[in-house]
Amino acid sequence: MSASLALSLWLQSARLQQQTGAALGSTTAPDSNWTLDLLEWVRTSWLSTKLAGLAGMDQAPALPTWAAAAIGAGIAVGIVIGFVSVVAMFSIWLERRVAGRIQSRIGPNRVGPFGLLQSLADGVKLLLKEDIIPSGADRKLFVLAPALVMASALAMFAAVPMADGAGFTDINLGVLFIVGISALATIGVIMAGWSSNNKWALYGAMREAAQVVSYEVPLGISLLVPVIVGGTLELGAASRLQSGWGGSCWFLFQNPFVLPAFVLYFIAALAENKRAPFDLPESESELVAGFHTEYSGIRFSFFFLEEYAAMFLMSAVGTALFLGGWNFPGIDLLKGGWLIAAQLAVFVVKSMFLVLLMIWIRWTLPRMRVDQVMVMGYKYLTPLSLICVVGASVWEVWAAVPFHERPIWMQLFTPVLVFGVCAVLGAMLRKQAIESAAQPTTRSRIAPRAHAAAH
């Protein structure tokens, strides 16, 4: 069901691209859009000749467009589902391993090498579990909710360019599309919470709604900063704009206000994905499991997969708009298929690094209170993101020319600033570490003998 929803969304996005492309007279439409190639290939492939042969025709009539589109989209959605599942399962494995190491444990290490197949084993277990629908639940919504949530995760992939020309559809309003689709998952979550007929599930859904409504604002505004810097809403075009300097000329290094915007985007993305410290919708200490309290088996696994897929997708958007997408120093030297493969690898590695950062933060920070989440969203993130937008606009207007035509001091100003900030913060952290190690004030360091003497 989620596949069909994703399919329809994908088709919609393709139509959107054609329409907007025609309307704007787009010249940036990539000539190597492989989804259109796929469509053409399905139309004229051996499958259609085979069908024609079965029908007793000598000449294969080209498949009608709708059939070709359906088959092509089916193949594409299959690829997406496979990719999303693998990425999500790898992220789950990564999360459990990292959590283990941070807590001085080992984590899953029994199933397969380093426990890599643990997620697969868990998935099979969840598939085999009984599928329970509570008797008081609203059946239709209850069944539809995980499908909708999963569909939004799959549909977001449509606009993410993994490598130059290897995206599904490089929509020229890609940022808008992704922000819109990512909010669709929230509707699924609210549906799940409402239809479960469970007070905790409903509380979780309400919190999710409040949180997403609050954090969509800073998320969208902070996404505007790279859009201002690049001057495009198309993720593929934005990634292409970030090449240069041997492939390291990322938006992060093009404008001094992109770094704070990236931090803001990252925090807002954490809140959007219900990740700690913003995991109030499923806070297990208060709400059992939040909106998916009543879900079990395969439907639960949909929510679980969606969380990690959405993490990866938010990271992918962050990679494409802030961290240079598929660009990496030295990648320009490669050619042809190797270039595509290297770009894919670079993109996935960068996104997985951001996922790792999310996991790292989850196992560092405790959960916030509801009012703290609201205060942070409205009183801190939103004004800060507005400041970033204004600052970035001023900088871009002042510079007035595209990045590579600016004076050299202006091109080097931001990288130096970024590395300087990182160096200063690193030095401060080092100093703090040394000071905190020298301070014998923690409770665990009270000498046991002195403690005994006190009694």
Partner: protein, 204 residues
Amino acid sequence: MVNFADNTAPDSQAKAGGWWSDVWLGLWTTLVGMRITLKYFFKKPVTVQYPEERMPIPDRYRGIHYLEQEKCIYCFQCARACPVDCITMEAVRHGKELEWISFSVDYNRCMFCELCTYPCPKDCIHEGKEFALVTYDRKELIHDLLTYRGLSDEAKVRLAEAEKEKAAKEAAKAAKAAAAAKPAAAAKPASAPGAGDAAAPPAS
């Protein structure tokens, strides 16, 4: 009474140092926390993968018993000392040698108090380092501590030697008796086997 509402009141935040200070503190404390978790990430996990590797067990650990059967003299001191009466022993004495029938500890009852080891005059019952007692049946929890049943090989040798010695002594005695009886035998040859019979009972 504490007024919890004050914690989130805007003026309390203002007192803490203002808006920019809050932003900075939020970032800085997160970074400090992340540094700490990173430190732990690169530490070695403390997990011991139990079936493959085991924790070091201290020397004075009180685990499952083991018995130095050769030393045991079947004195019942351990069984008497046991507060829960979980030691059962049975043996037959052959002079100084023991023919073992059973020496078992019932781990359904044993509480590993180690009181059985202290009264042992030969220091032959110990509590070892083995602790895994899981079984499929409670009957299997009655452990037999014997490493052999009946007589030990050494005891058999010693018993055989003692037999042999005894036989030799008897033979010597019989020879002596025979030598003493010789003159009489010459006179009364029919009484010689009777003298041999008379010599045997005191020896046994």
